[in-house]
Amino acid sequence: MLDQPSALIDIRGVCRSFPKGSGEQLLVLERVDLTIRSGEIVGLLGRSGSGKSTLLRIIAGLLAPSTGRATCRGEIIAGPPNGVAMVFQSFALFPWLTVLQNVELGLEALGVDATERRKRALAAIDLIGLDGFESAFPRELSGGMCQRVGFARALVVHPDLLLMDEPFSALDVLTAETLRTDLIDLWIEGRLPIKSVLMVTHNIEEAVLMCDRILVFSSNPGRVAAEIKVELPHPRNRLDPHFRLLVDSIYARMTQRSEPKAPAIEGIPSTGVGMTLHHVSSNVLSGLIETLANAPYNGHADLPDLASQLQLEADEILHLGESLQLLRLAQLSEGDLVLTEAGKRFAHLETDARKRLFAEHLVTYVPLMGLIRRVLDERPTHTAPAARFRNELEDYMSEDYAAETLKTIVSWGRYSELLAYDEQSETFSLENPG
């Protein structure tokens, strides 16, 4: 690392896997390289499940990499390194401690003496705009104020690197925006006692607004798909054409590789059953198709536009688009969402006809649904325990994803009246009451 004397964090070929339900390992992070130098804000941008939070936790020393090398100032990271502090999505404040006590917590662990502790904590509280709230308990504060406490708690230890795990995603739009600008202002004025920031986000505009460098992650397994330098001067304007261009190009990049894919595993012929399905209510899908079919879109929408009109995050709109694409009701390409012929037909059908069309596409294009229907038809009782399919799914994915996939199948299956499900006995069947 002689050529990079100022590298704060250096990640080389890091992989991380977790045990799956079946006992095998599931790879969530594949050969990631990342260097963080002094004086930059780096963003990790990706869909949920792209391993960006895992990478953040490896840098925070909360998780160890399975293979590869993670160093902080040249030293291997084993346990939380000194000079790295973290801000959490859920704020993670101790509800039984006051604002001041929460902020002092990190200093207590360092053994800083009481007067110094108080002085530094009050300074951090002052800096982040929490003056007057010192003796309040977190439950008396709004979400935005809570996250300010989270920032003060991280800043008070004067870390070299500030890690932020989706710090604004639990806040409402206005609060998040205020907090972002406050933070950027402090950063530009050089008033933050930190050298660098690494933030995880799934909000494309947020990344473009704040970061000097964005690493776009792809999913399954997570790896760095692209690195984008943002050279717009601060303060950045969301309406600036250059800003819009950059956002559009990232959208395009994120939709590029999102064709439904069935991960083939060596030795097992790919049946496509092991595809992760994200739960999207059939109501939302119908609503989206109608919106797309009507003016002003007339079957063709620009994703950033659609997202801002529906007040959805990039992550959410992409999930919706992918679900429609999977069912061949719409097509994602280059940052656009386009209705297929079937999708246009769907928009103008009555409820029962919609269900029939949905059912037809579901059986044809979702291999898991096809499998469940085959099993139900073959069995004399026309019932099958959910465990049978859950086990099969867990060969391909983690337990959580298997559960979500099954939940999706149940919900879509019920809507399309392809199957019935009894929650108590966890069995699929063909009988629909009534």
């Binding site: 991380r16 896997s17 977790f18 045990p19 390992q25 936790r57 925070a60 020393g61 909360l62 998780l63 160890a64 399975s66 084993a78 346990g79 939380p80 000194n82 790295v84 502090a85 973290m86 959490f88 999505q89 859920s90 704020f91 993670a92 101790f94 509800p95 039984w96 401690l97 001041l100 917590l105 990190g106 207590e108 662990a109 360092l110 053994g111 108080r118 009050l122 007057g132 010192e134 003796s135 308990f137 977190p138 439950r139 008396e140 809570c146 708690r153 230890v157 108590q424």
Partner: protein, 577 residues
């Protein structure tokens, strides 16, 4: 800076004391004097007890009440310490957990008076000739009625500590010790306090039995409310019983007002919610101390010590080291560990078998099981009856918040009421009307425990969402349909919680309740409780062990096969909100 101002109010200014200072000061000093006095009595030699026999003079009651109170206090302190250690070890060490948690489950089902039988001799030998030994045995018996559910509650909390807070602790380099006091204990606090309160009620119930110790040839009567009641029963002194009830009422009220309410009001800040709650709990005592001026300065050193303790840099074994995917627990060591446990269990089983088979035959086992089934039948019938009576009443009360507010403390008081106090009524009634004791002694078993059903149902009905009630009204649901479709499913999880506690308590109470006496009149019902009670009195240890083992097995099976599935069903399907 606002904080400076707050600090000035507490330490720097020397404010002139106000009237509340004087009241609070007297309370604090008085409590200290009483504790010192009470503790001093315990170091007296055992012969002292025989020289000064118990008296039924009501003037002696305050002192007896004090000693009982101190015993209860000692027991709750021991239970808390035990809870901290046992729960922490089981939650942090996977291997310890494999043994400790099932063990706790069994300990919970061992009848409390069963512990007394075995430990009294041990404790008496620990301090030969001193009252302290007997005191410890009594405290231990009360401890066994309190510790298990507190430990369970803490263990559950420790297993459910929010992950993000754990990560904060790790990434800020807090030590294991700091973590325990800053995260684990506060997070477990609300559940722990609630369980300690329930435990306290249980403790009162058994205090009578644990003070008048009568095992085989060992007879020790420790001065206290419990032995006062025992003596009153022996001498058929109704007015003494009345005084005991009065004293008990006062002591329980004092405990509630002076200890638990302040703790609850204080612990309100540990509730794990991010939003403000409706009505914060209040306490006269906390208000009193908050109104004092000078005394708050006096408490400052305590909070300083407190802070020093949790800032001690004691390094406990690092519990939350980063999880490496390679660092999987070694199968070999696991195997050895399981083998060691199995070997120990087999050895214990063999020892027990050898000990029991020396004096007991297969026939004795059948007798014990038959008695056990009779008691089981009693428990089932009584819980069903209590359900039929208290569920409608509880619902009625729970839907009327004004009344519920007044009834709740009363029900809690009644739950603490020892069955012995009702002996006179039952024994005299059974004898004068020539009733069958097998039937008519049974209600004693549920005398104290039925209230758990009542106050859980009240709690459930009060928590029932008003929009659902309004929906039911607007749909004109009434009569049976309203009960079975609306309110009963709504309170079901609460009811099950209450019924589990009540059924466990009834098993425990059977040892006291199946044998009742009033002066020279002794009534015996057939059942496992009476079986254990008479074996204890005769000092017949093999039969005591057999009886306790049978009860353990029956209680555990009953819980696993009946209550747990019901509880799980209620939690999964009927939990509102």
């Amino acid at each position: 800076m606002r904080l400076k101002v707050i600090r000035t109010a507490t330490i720097e200014a020397e404010p002139r004391p106000n009237i509340w200072d004087i009241v609070a000061l007297i309370l604090v000093i008085g409590a200290m004097v009483l504790i010192v006095y009470g503790v001093k009595q315990t170091t007296a030699p055992l012969s002292e007890l025989e020289r000064t026999p118990l008296s039924l003079d009501p003037a002696t009651l305050p002192l007896y009440a004090l000693r009982t109170t101190i015993r209860m206090l000692a027991a709750i302190v021991c239970s808390t310490i035990f809870t901290f250690i046992y729960a922490a070890v089981s939650a942090k060490s996977r291997r310890a957990e494999m043994v400790l948690i099932p063990l706790l489950d069994i300990l919970q089902s061992v009848p409390i008076l069963g512990f007394l039988t075995f430990t009294v001799i041990f404790f008496l030998n620990l301090f030969p000739g001193q009252v302290l030994g007997a005191e410890l045995a009594s405290v231990f018996a009360i401890f066994t009625s309190q510790a298990w559910n507190m430990t369970f509650s803490m263990y559950q909390s420790l297993r459910n500590v929010p992950k993000d807070l754990e990560e904060v602790i790790q990434s800020f380099h807090l030590s294991g010790w700091q973590r325990f006091w800053r995260l684990d204990v506060p997070f477990a606090m609300p559940g722990l306090i609630w369980n300690a309160m329930m435990s306290m009620s249980g403790g009162w119930f058994f205090v009578v039995a644990s003070e008048a110790i009568n095992v085989g040839n060992t007879t020790v009567t420790l001065p206290g409310i419990g032995s006062y009641v025992a003596l009153a029963i022996q001498q058929r002194d109704l007015s003494a019983i009345f005084y005991a009830i009065l004293a008990m009422f006062l002591v329980i009220t004092a405990y509630d007002q002076l200890l638990f309410r302040p703790i609850i009001a204080w612990a309100d800040k540990f509730r794990f919610e991010q939003t403000a709650s409706g009505e914060p709990p209040t306490s006269l005592m906390v208000d009193l101390f908050r109104r004092t001026r000078a005394l708050r300065a006096v408490t400052w050193p305590f909070s300083a010590i407190n802070r020093a303790i949790w800032n001690l840099r004691i390094s406990l074994p690092q519990l939350g080291a980063p999880a490496k995917s390679k660092g999987r627990p070694s199968r070999l060591i696991d195997g050895l560990w399981v083998a060691a446990i199995l070997a120990g269990t087999a050895y214990a089983a063999w020892l027990t078998y050898r000990y029991l088979s020396a004096s007991l035959g297969l026939n004795d086992v059948f007798i014990a099981i038959r008695n056990g089934l009779i008691t089981l039948l009693r428990v089932i019938v009584l819980i069903s009856l209590a359900t039929l009576i208290w569920v409608p009443i509880g619902v009625w009360i729970g839907l009327r918040p004004k009344i519920a507010e007044r009834i709740q403390p009363l029900a809690q008081f009644l739950a603490a009421f020892p069955a012995n106090l009702a002996f006179p009524v039952f024994v005299v009634g059974i004898v004068s009307f020539r009733l069958n004791p097998d039937v008519w002694l049974s209600p004693l078993m549920i005398l104290g425990t039925q209230w758990y059903i009542l106050f859980n149902v009240i709690a459930g009905a009060s928590a029932f969402p008003s929009d659902l009630r309004e929906a039911a009204n607007s749909l004109h649901l009434g009569g049976w349909r309203w009960w079975f479709k609306v309110i009963l499913p709504g309170i079901f999880p609460y009811y099950v919680t209450g019924a589990i506690t009540a059924s466990g308590g009834s098993w425990n109470a059977s040892i006291v309740a199946e044998v009742a006496s009033w002066g020279d009149t002794h009534l015996n019902a057939t059942g496992l409780g009476a079986y254990i009670a008479s074996a204890t009195e005769a000092g017949d240890f093999p039969r005591v062990i057999l009886g306790i083992a049978t009860m353990c097995i029956l209680v555990t099976l009953f819980n696993r096969l009946a209550w747990r599935p019901l509880y799980a069903f209620g939690e999964r399907r009927l939990r509102l909100g």
